[in-house]
């Protein structure tokens, strides 16, 4: 039978993919919490509830920042996608071959504007993981300069709100 954590991982990747394409309304708090719990229970290393709550808060913080930037003069919602892509690229073991492939792709006109649906975003997650891209490379991919530190501050603020007020604000 398929391993439960593999299935939960695919579902959590799906939440991230929806955020990357800007469909934040698809990321529902109860669903995220459910699959995060399934994932950590599948791993069975203890502290499942706490870790699931923390992961849910992290995902919801990106969702809230995305929503906050929609129609706001403070920045563009796609900047949140840029931050997510950057962070995914800084996860896992470093893979220089993947990084080279990805950079070549960006050099040949592969840009964020071509990521239109969740399937493409899921492929992107696979592609960038472990590439450890620079902010400059992310800006090149987005087609403009993105101040990732600034976006990260927005997301941190939203995370703090979730910690102090509970997850009911997702």
């Amino acid at each position: 039978m398929m391993k439960v954590e593999a299935l939960a991982k695919a579902m959590i990747d799906l939440f991230l993919a929806h955020l990357i394409v800007g469909e934040e309304e698809e990321v529902k708090e109860e669903d995220v919490m459910f699959w995060a719990l399934v994932y950590f229970e599948g791993l069975g290393r203890g502290d499942e509830l706490k870790r699931a709550q923390r992961m849910t808060r992290e995902i919801l913080a990106y969702k809230r920042a995305l929503r906050r930037l929609r129609g706001s003069p403070a920045g563009r919602p796609e900047n949140v996608a840029a931050l997510i892509i950057y962070n995914i690229s800084h996860s896992g073991p470093k893979d220089l071959q993947k990084r080279e492939l990805w950079e070549n792709k960006v050099a040949t006109n592969h840009s964020y504007s071509r990521i239109r649906n969740v399937e493409e975003a899921l492929d992107l997650i696979e592609e960038v993981r472990g590439t450890y891209l620079t902010e400059r490379a992310i800006s090149e991919f987005m087609g403009r300069t993105v101040n990732l530190d600034r976006v990260a501050r927005f997301v941190e603020e939203e995370y703090e709100v979730l910690v102090t007020k509970g997850e009911g604000n997702g």
Partner: protein, 222 residues
């Protein structure tokens, strides 16, 4: 190292994404082809009303009675067999006759119009080939223009390609853009919204760089 830090709240997510994947087990059952076809056509409901432990068990076994798009997608990400099936279905879908051809087959009366259009396309293609055959490096002003057809085959390589414009591109703009490159449309649109175009190799090559084009498949005409 500054280059290696993640930004923002990313602790659990970082560990989650960085975790080494365990060897994937296999599903005992899979979504039926009809479900995959419905998924391709966007006809499945987005997600179940509620995910429960029983539903997770059904998903893990690959035996769900009412598949949703989310679940099919999650299954596809974890099942190479179904990814291959889906790729075959997509291919079969793409090779189906176009809506226009189906119409003609159902109603032969309109085939006449079709043949007239095909004839017009053939004439346009012939004119294009003649144009490229005659085009040569610019003549000096003091030399007599050579208006005769060359005896040897033209050295100009014509290339045809199928191009699919970006969905938000206006067709008028797309057509003007092709015209500016000396490229002509010889067929289409097909079901993907793609057009068969023909032009000089360098002109076709420049399409790869264009932000107006979503997909391009090149074919070399001898």
């Amino acid at each position: 190292m500054a280059e290696e830090r993640a930004m923002g709240p990313w602790k659990e997510l970082g560990e989650f994404l960085g975790a080494r994947s365990r060897p994937a087990a296999r599903y005992r059952a899979h979504p039926p082809k009809a479900v995959l076809s419905m998924y391709l056509a966007g006809e499945l409901p987005a997600r179940p009303k509620e995910w429960t432990k029983d539903r997770v068990q059904a998903l893990l076994a690959g035996r769900v009675s009412d598949w949703t798009a989310w679940e099919v997608l999650a299954h596809l990400r974890t099942c190479p067999k179904c990814r291959r099936t889906l790729a075959h279905l997509k291919k079969a879908e793409a090779s189906k006759p176009t809506r226009w051809l189906r119409k003609v087959l159902e109603n032969p009366k309109i085939a006449g119009v079709g043949w007239a259009l095909a004839g017009a396309q053939a004439i346009a293609l012939a004119a294009l080939i003649l144009f490229f055959s005659l085009s040569s490096p610019p003549h000096k002003l003091d030399t007599k223009p050579d208006l005769t057809l060359p005896n040897t085959p033209s050295q100009v390589t014509l290339v045809s390609a199928w191009v699919v414009p970006e969905p938000d591109v206006d067709i008028g703009e797309f057509s003007r853009f092709l015209h500016s490159l000396g490229i002509v449309v010889v067929d289409g649109p097909d079901e993907r919204g793609g057009y068969k175009v023909m032009g000089k190799e360098e002109a076709i090559q420049s399409l790869f760089e264009s932000p107006l084009i979503k997909l391009i498949q090149k074919e070399v005409t001898p």
